[in-house]
C-alpha cells in the first residue's frame, strides 16, 4: 500500500511538476472527504425512503385473521413505538439509529433487529466473501488466459462458458449442482450450514455468473493492453509470454476489474438472498425476504440499512484504492 502511495506520488510529480506536494495531499483529502460525504447523504436518503415506504404500505404488522381489541393494539403500537404523528416517529427512529438501535422486530417477538442481524449477517458475509474471492480469482485467470490465446479453442470455450454462466440464473445453477453433486453423486451435502463442505456448492453457485462477467471484462481489457507498445518492448527484451502477460500486462489490465469490485459486492450480497434460499442457509437474506412478506418494518429497514452501509462503505474503499492505483482520477476528477 505504502509503495503504491509513493508511486502515485511520483507519477503526480511527473505529470504536474509545478504543483507543490501539499496540493497533492489536499486533493487526496478532498477526494476521500467528498466520497465520505456522499456516503452519508446516500445512507440518509435510504433510511428516509425505507421508513416512509413502509409506512404507506396498507396493512399493518399486527393484522391477523382475528381483529385485535383496540386496547391491545394501542399497547402493541406503543411498545413498538409506532404511535403518534408520523414525523415524530421518523425523528425518533433517526435518533435511535444514531444510537445504534435498530429496534424490535414485529414478527419475531421479543427479538431485536440487532440480535437477529448479529446471528445471521456473519453467515451471509462469510458466504459472500468466499464467492467474492472465487469470482475475482477465477475470472481474472480465465479472462487473461483467454486473451493470451485469442481466437484459439480455449478462448472460444471460455467465452461461450462465460455467456452461458451469465445467462443462467443462480436458481438454475444451484439446483442443477445439487442434483448432480449431492443427489446423483452424493459427494457434498444438499444444503445447510456447518462444515466447510457445505459451503462449496453455495459459494460456487453464487460466484459463477460474476466470475464469467469478470472473465469477459479481463479479456477485453487485456486484449487492449497487449496491443500497447510497452508490451512489444517487453517481448522484444526476450521475456517469456507468462512474464509479459502476468507481470506487465495484468497490472494495467486489472483496473476495470477493480472498478467492478464495488458493484460485485452489491450483487453478491443480493444474490446471496436467493442462494441462501436454495441451500437452506440461515443468513440475513432469509430474514430480509420474510420481513418484506410479513410487513416487519423495522427488520426490513434494519437489513436495508446494514446492507447499504456495507456496500457504500465498500465502494468507498474501492474508490480510494482506485485513486491510488490510477492517480489521474484524483487529479482530474
Amino acid at each position: 500500500m505504502l509503495e503504491r502511495l509513493l508511486k502515485s506520488h511520483l507519477l503526480f510529480k511527473i505529470t504536474e511538476p509545478n504543483l507543490p506536494a501539499y496540493r497533492f495531499h489536499l486533493k487526496m483529502i478532498r477526494f476521500i472527504g467528498g466520497r465520505a460525504i456522499s456516503l452519508i447523504i446516500i445512507l440518509f436518503c435510504v433510511v428516509t425512503a425505507t421508513f416512509f415506504l413502509i409506512r404507506i404500505m396498507p396493512g399493518g404488522p399486527f393484522d391477523r385473521e382475528r381483529k385485535l381489541s383496540p386496547n391491545i393494539e394501542k399497547q402493541l403500537l406503543k411498545k413498538y413505538k409506532l404511535d403518534g404523528p408520523i414525523l415524530d416517529q421518523y425523528f425518533n427512529y433517526l435518533g435511535d439509529l444514531l444510537h445504534g438501535d435498530l429496534r424490535l422486530s414485529t414478527k419475531y417477538r421479543n427479538r431485536s433487529v440487532n440480535e437477529i442481524l448479529a446471528d445471521s449477517l456473519p453467515v451471509s458475509v462469510t458466504l459472500g466473501s468466499i464467492a467474492f474471492c472465487i469470482a475475482t480469482f477465477a475470472g481474472v485467470l480465465l479472462g487473461s488466459v483467454a486473451a493470451a490465446n485469442q481466437h484459439g479453442w480455449i478462448d472460444r470455450t471460455a467465452m461461450f462458458g462465460a455467456l452461458l454462466a451469465i445467462s443462467l440464473p443462480s436458481f438454475v445453477i444451484g439446483p442443477m449442482l445439487v442434483l448432480l453433486f449431492a443427489i446423483n453423486f452424493p459427494l457434498l451435502p444438499v444444503g445447510g450450514w456447518g462444515d466447510f463442505r457445505s459451503l462449496i456448492l453455495p459459494a460456487l453457485t453464487l460466484a459463477a455468473p460474476y466470475a464469467a462477467y469478470i472473465a469477459r471484462l479481463t479479456r477485453a481489457s487485456m486484449l487492449e493492453v497487449l496491443s500497447q507498445d510497452y508490451i512489444r518492448t517487453a517481448r522484444a527484451k526476450g521475456l517469456n509470454e507468462i512474464q509479459v502477460i502476468y507481470k506487465h500486462g495484468l497490472r494495467v489490465a486489472i483496473l476495470p476489474v477493480i472498478s467492478f469490485l464495488g458493484p460485485l459486492a452489491a450483487n453478491l450480497l443480493t444474490g446471496s438472498i436467493v442462494v441462501e434460499n436454495i441451500f437452506n442457509i440461515p443468513g440475513a437474506g432469509g430474514f430480509f425476504v420474510s420481513s418484506v412478506l410479513n410487513r416487519d418494518g423495522f427488520l426490513l429497514a434494519g437489513v436495508v440499512i446494514v446492507y447499504c452501509t456495507l456496500l457504500v462503505g465498500f465502494n468507498l474503499v474501492v474508490d480510494i484504492l482506485y485513486g491510488f492505483l490510477d492517480p489521474r482520477i484524483l487529479l482530474y476528477d
Binding site: S38, M176, L293
Partner: protein
C-alpha cells in the same frame, strides 16, 4: 453491392446471432399463440407425472401440465421483459437527453442522482418498492371497478418497478452520446433557424441516438427477465395460477429431495429460460459488435 464492412453484412455473417433470432422467434410465437392453441383444461388428477406423450413435460405437484405452464410462463416472462425494458428505455432516454442537452449544473445534479441510485442495490430497492406499492395498486384497481384485472396487478407493478430501476445505464449512455452530438454543426444549424429546444432534442438528437439505444435495449430485456424471475422465485413476483419461469423454478426447487428427484420440473423451465436469455445476450452482443462504433474489431 455488398459492403463487407457494413454492420448488416457483419451481422449476417454471425451465425450465433442468426441462431439466436431463430430461437427468439420460436419463443415469441409460442408465447403469443401457444396459450390460445392449447386446451385450457390442463389439470389432471395425477400430480408429479414424469414426461410422457400425453404430458410432454410431465405434470407438477398440483397435477397441472408442465408444458402448458412453461408456455404460459414464456408469455408473462417475455411480456414483462419487453415491457419493462420499454419503460426503462422511455425513462432513461428522456432523462439522458435532458441531462446531456442542458449541461452545466442541471446535468451535474441529474447525474449525481443517477450515482445515488447506482449505489443502492437494485434488487433490494425492487423488493421494498414492490411490497410497498403492490397493495396500493390492488386497492385502486378494486376501487375503480376492474376486478378482472386485479390478478394482473402484479404484472403491472413488476413492469413499472423493473423499468424504473433499470434506466440508469440507459440514461448514462444517452447522456454521453448527446454530449458529443450537441456540439456538432447540425445542432447549431437547427438552433440558428429558430428551432425550439423540444424540437432539437426529439427531432434532431433523438434519431441519431436510436442505433446505440436499441442495442442496449436488447441487453436490457434479458436483465429484466432475470430480475423478474428472481422476484418470482422469492415469492414477491408473479403468483399462481399465473406462471413465470422464475415461479416454476421456485416450485421445482421446493420438491427436490434426495429420495426422488423430479428432474423434469427443474429441467424444462430452466431450459426454456436459459435458451431465451442466452439468445438475447448473443443477439445483444452481436448487435453491439456490429453497430457500436466504440467496439473495435
Amino acid at each position: 453491392m455488398i459492403d463487407p464492412r457494413s454492420p448488416i453484412t457483419k451481422l449476417r455473417r454471425n451465425r450465433a446471432v442468426l441462431f439466436s433470432i431463430f430461437i427468439l422467434a420460436i419463443v415469441v410465437v409460442a408465447a403469443v399463440i401457444g396459450p390460445m392453441l392449447l386446451p385450457t383444461a390442463q389439470v389432471t388428477r395425477n400430480s408429479l407425472l414424469p414426461p410422457s406423450p400425453d404430458h410432454l413435460f410431465g405434470t407438477d405437484l398440483n397435477g397441472r401440465d408442465l408444458f402448458y405452464r412453461v408456455v404460459l410462463g414464456a408469455q408473462i416472462s417475455v411480456f414483462v421483459g419487453v415491457a419493462g425494458a420499454t419503460v426503462s428505455f422511455l425513462f432513461g432516454t428522456v432523462y439522458g437527453l435532458i441531462s446531456g442537452y442542458s449541461g452545466g449544473s442541471t446535468d451535474a445534479a441529474m447525474m449525481r442522482l443517477v450515482d445515488i441510485f447506482y449505489a443502492i442495490p437494485r434488487l433490494i430497492l425492487l423488493l421494498v418498492l414492490i411490497s410497498a406499492l403492490d397493495p396500493l395498486i390492488r386497492q385502486q384497481m378494486e376501487r375503480i371497478g376492474v376486478p378482472q384485472l386485479v390478478g394482473y396487478s402484479k404484472v403491472l407493478i413488476l413492469v413499472l418497478c423493473l423499468g424504473l430501476t433499470e434506466w440508469l445505464t440507459m440514461a448514462r449512455i444517452v447522456r454521453g452520446q448527446v454530449l458529443s452530438l450537441k456540439s456538432q454543426q447540425f445542432v447549431l444549424a437547427a438552433r440558428s433557424i429558430g428551432q425550439t429546444h423540444f424540437n432539437i432534442i426529439f427531432r434532431h438528437l433523438f434519431p441519431n441516438l436510436l442505433g446505440v439505444v436499441i442495442v442496449y435495449l436488447t441487453l436490457t430485456v434479458p436483465s429484466v427477465i432475470l430480475d423478474e424471475s428472481f422476484l418470482s422465485f422469492l415469492g414477491v413476483g408473479i403468483q399462481a395460477p399465473l406462471a413465470s419461469w422464475g415461479l416454476l423454478l421456485s416450485d421445482a426447487t421446493q420438491v427436490i429431495n434426495p429420495v426422488k428427484s423430479y428432474w423434469w420440473l427443474l429441467v424444462f423451465p430452466a431450459l426454456a429460460m436459459s435458451l431465451t436469455l442466452l439468445a438475447l445476450n448473443f443477439l445483444g452482443d452481436g448487435l453491439r459488435d456490429s453497430f457500436d462504433p466504440r467496439v473495435k474489431k
